[in-house]
Subunit: 137 residues, 4 copies
């Protein structure tokens, strides 16, 4: 069930590459991904854009769930809510994601985004699971 | 109260530039922004990454609210929930955002993201409003 | 597809009866339900408890979706986010709900709760659709 | 900062009494409340109504935050998202809530609702904090 090669999951992610996001682990319903903050991540107020932090969560949740899918299963994001606690302007962001419930057709995930040991944001998400040859909900 | 020069708001948005996002209107509690889908927006499954669509919503909400702020006010995203209806693989995404309630310290916003006339995603958000020289909640 | 007898849907809802909630229409992906505020609805601060307003939304969404189900289909709430705009202390609350997208296995709904013409709260929800003899996600 | 008498907080909650909800602890940013499922809690499908479970979360979050307020501070729910994992038809529901961040004007909370050791639902919320003599956001 687990996925031993996070690079394989990461290797096909053009948007992840645009952001500089990379996975350090994808295993057994958990994932960790991170990115180093750079100029292109800033919003008009000079802090990291909420979309960058969200993208860590969405990508990390997908990675965590990927490790719980069978070979012929695919998943897609149904909805995510993200809450921001603190602005961040430099350093490395790390996102820990977890599958908290995996049903037959739906899975529920959570992410925590940190800079060092400071919690920057949290997110909760719902994903749809379907067969590679089937359709979405 | 309205903002006649959307380029000015857009001009300082490095992450918007990274995505290719641009505003076409910011006025009276509403905004419209869009981006043309390109290779760098894709996720591992070959569809536009949820983070790209989310970034349109977050940025568009901020633009819509910006048009309702006074000169010494600033805003930041508290939380956003986004729901995805359909995958999208090409074309131009347009995001219409609106301030549905603007209180003294909190504002509530909504976004609809479309490709042509097809609804791709919807988002609802809460923003904090504060004085430029004051702090966050 | 539509449901001409809202009383039938309402008749089996013990919690709705506890709250004093009743439907005035359930048709074609829309519903309207309402309740008259009474002493038992208040929270410790003397305003209507958020759970009362939420229950209107959850019930109303279920009613709206019910009108779009086939005879052998059932639905259950996956998640709902509700946002509160104003406290309310008396009068009648009316909740208008709508199915904004009905897929094969998932449906997306929205509710607006008003007192008179004042918007009190808005909610967005995801529902799971399944066969009466099948299981949940 | 903590609140040693949960009954005091509970004593003025008419909606809590209507539901049969009671607190067993409110202390230091945490709370536990519960209710015994009874006939009046059911929805049309014969399972506990989502509004009952939500009300545990909303009430429990308010209790947890109450223990972190100063004497002249009040709070109100800004928004809550709740996710349901399993239907429930009998027994006692217990809700553990926690303040995960308490800012000056905003607080963020989480709740887990269980029946025995089975997780039934989770919720995340945002609350506004204001002075008793001041206004809402």
């Amino acid at each position: 069930m687990s996925q031993s090669d996070p690079q394989k999951h990461e290797g096909h992610n053009p948007f992840g590459e645009l952001l500089g996001l990379h996975f350090t682990s994808i295993e057994d319903g958990h994932s960790r991904c991170s990115l180093e903050i750079r100029e292109g991540h800033f919003n008009p107020y000079g802090v990291v854009h909420g979309g960058v932090i969200y993208s860590l969560a969405d990508t990390g949740m997908g990675g965590a769930l990927y490790s719980r899918l069978k070979g012929d299963e695919r998943c897609s994001t149904v909805e995510i809510k993200i809450v921001y606690f603190r602005p961040v302007t430099s350093g490395t962001l790390t996102c820990d994601s977890e599958v908290i419930r995996r049903g037959r057709r739906l899975a529920f995930t959570e992410s925590e985004i940190r800079r060092g040991d400071r919690l920057i944001a949290k997110a909760t998400g719902t994903f749809s699971i379907f067969k590679a040859d089937g359709g979405l909900g």
